[in-house]
């Protein structure tokens, strides 16, 4: 059993609009048999946090193209993307690039 983990999630660049306009969220992921990775985090966000239009945030198993993801301030493309195994106190940022410039 993986112990529950606490995360800081941040939504920006317009992505916060899908989460009731709130940018910063402290969340605790419950204990489960498999370790928490990004793929499972996205499923959890979709089920527990998304307030509206989920298709604007997740597409298939991943984030919608055009949403940037940073894990502890680093591009998730350097961290294994969906396979990254989350650690307690990790900081995950989602920034939409799809809004006007």
């Amino acid at each position: 059993m993986a112990a529950p983990i606490a995360l800081h999630l941040e939504f920006g660049g317009g992505a916060e609009l899908l989460f009731g306009g709130v940018k910063d969220h402290q969340v605790t992921l419950p204990s489960q048999s498999q370790p928490w990775d990004m793929k499972r985090l996205l499923v959890w966000i979709r089920a527990n946090m998304l307030k509206e239009r989920p298709e604007l945030f997740v597409q298939g198993h991943t984030v919608r193209p055009g949403i940037l993801v940073l894990i502890n301030d680093a591009d998730w493309e350097l961290m294994g993307e969906l396979t990254y195994e989350l650690q307690d106190q990790d900081n995950v940022v989602f920034i939409s690039t799809l809004h006007g410039g």
């Binding site: 920006g12 193209p65 591009d75 350097l78 006007g100 410039g101």
Partner: protein, 343 residues
């Protein structure tokens, strides 16, 4: 195991560049990004020493990054430019008023003069008032046409030599696709140009220093530098057509990151067969602005608004347009057509 920066080979890499695939640390990314914009500016000879350059500033990510980078490069490479911020207030409550607050903070942060020109002072109509009359279907036509002129008029008031805008590589690739999809050969031919020469009286030359900068890098640059920008969709803009082009490009980029630059290159290398008829550029007989018709689009739209016939400038009403501009009376049927508001 953290990935090490491929440039300095010392610090931890923080992002993967879509254009090159390189993994860089923050510092190496900042310098690579700024150097590329500098190279774009130098190789296309966008500016000359002593010029006054207006930076089109909306408060959004692109123009905020543009203002920051222009300020940095002007100092670092001694361009000798006199920079200022130029903003347009379309009169959209809850959208532009908020984003203009960001521009006002940028003015302080970057210590640059700021000029705001409003639709209300230029045309006598805010977008809020226009939407009340025309509805939510064609309002973006009014806004787009008016904005282009508003930037020029503001630039003339400030005696600006050139305007630069924050259009990035993704924007230009989208525009190429949209022009292909619409079969707009005249726009397709000029939409990839990095700068426009002065097209005549009242038109200030424009350029796009971020033309080759990916949106991902612009957003990460703003994020890592903690730049202050505003990001909310315009409350009136569904802008569906561009939205589809944008989503399509993002899907392509996810599969092959070079797709964006590839589309731009396709646009740049396209040549139009001789003998294809192009609209001839002249000047508006009423306001003198550049136009391929006797009256520019902006004057036709304004005439329609002021007469309570908002559809005058929308779609193909050329015959009616001639009639109305010659002050000839319209039949009831014709008036009905131009008044119709479809929600």
């Amino acid at each position: 195991m953290p990935i090490i920066c491929s440039s300095c080979e010392q610090k931890r890499a923080m992002l993967k560049r879509p254009k090159t695939g390189h993994s860089l640390c923050k510092e190496c990314f900042f310098s690579a990004f700024e150097e590329e914009v500098h190279q774009t500016i130098v190789s296309a000879r966008l500016f000359n020493s002593g010029e006054t350059v207006g930076i089109g500033a909306s408060g959004g990510k692109d123009s905020t990054v543009l203002a920051h980078v222009m300020k940095v490069l002007n100092q670092r490479y001694d361009y000798g430019l006199n920079l200022l911020l130029l903003s347009v207030d379309e009169g959209i409550t809850g959208y532009r008023d908020d984003s203009l607050e960001t521009v006002k903070r940028n003015q302080q942060q970057y210590d640059l003069p700021l000029k705001i020109v409003s639709y209300e002072e230029l045309y006598g109509w805010t977008m809020d008032a226009i939407v009340k009359q025309v509805g939510l279907k064609n309002n973006c036509t009014f806004c787009g046409v008016f904005r282009r002129q508003a930037l020029d008029r503001g630039a003339l008031m400030l005696k600006v030599d050139k305007i630069c805008t924050g259009h990035n590589a993704d924007d230009i690739a989208e525009t190429v696709l949209m022009n292909v999809l619409r079969g707009d050969i005249a726009r397709l031919r000029r939409c990839t140009a990095i700068s426009t020469a002065s097209e005549g009286e009242g038109v200030v030359p424009r350029c796009k220093p971020l033309k080759y900068a990916y949106e991902k890098e612009i957003v990460l640059y703003a994020y890592f530098k903690k730049l202050d920008y505003f990001s909310t969709e315009c409350i009136y803009s569904p802008n569906a057509y561009r939205g589809y082009a944008r989503a399509f490009l993002k899907d392509l980029e996810a599969v092959r990151p070079s797709a964006i630059i590839d589309v731009i290159h396709s646009g740049e290398n396209l040549s139009v067969r001789e003998g294809v008829r192009m609209p001839v550029q002249g000047n508006c007989t009423r306001c003198g602005y550049i136009s391929s018709q006797a009256l520019c689009k902006s004057c036709v739209l304004l005439e329609g608004l002021n007469r309570g016939l908002p559809r005058l400038g929308i779609g193909k009403h050329n015959r009616l347009r001639g009639k109305i501009l010659a002050q000839e009376p319209l039949t009831q049927e014709e008036e009905r057509k131009l008044k119709a508001v479809d929600f």
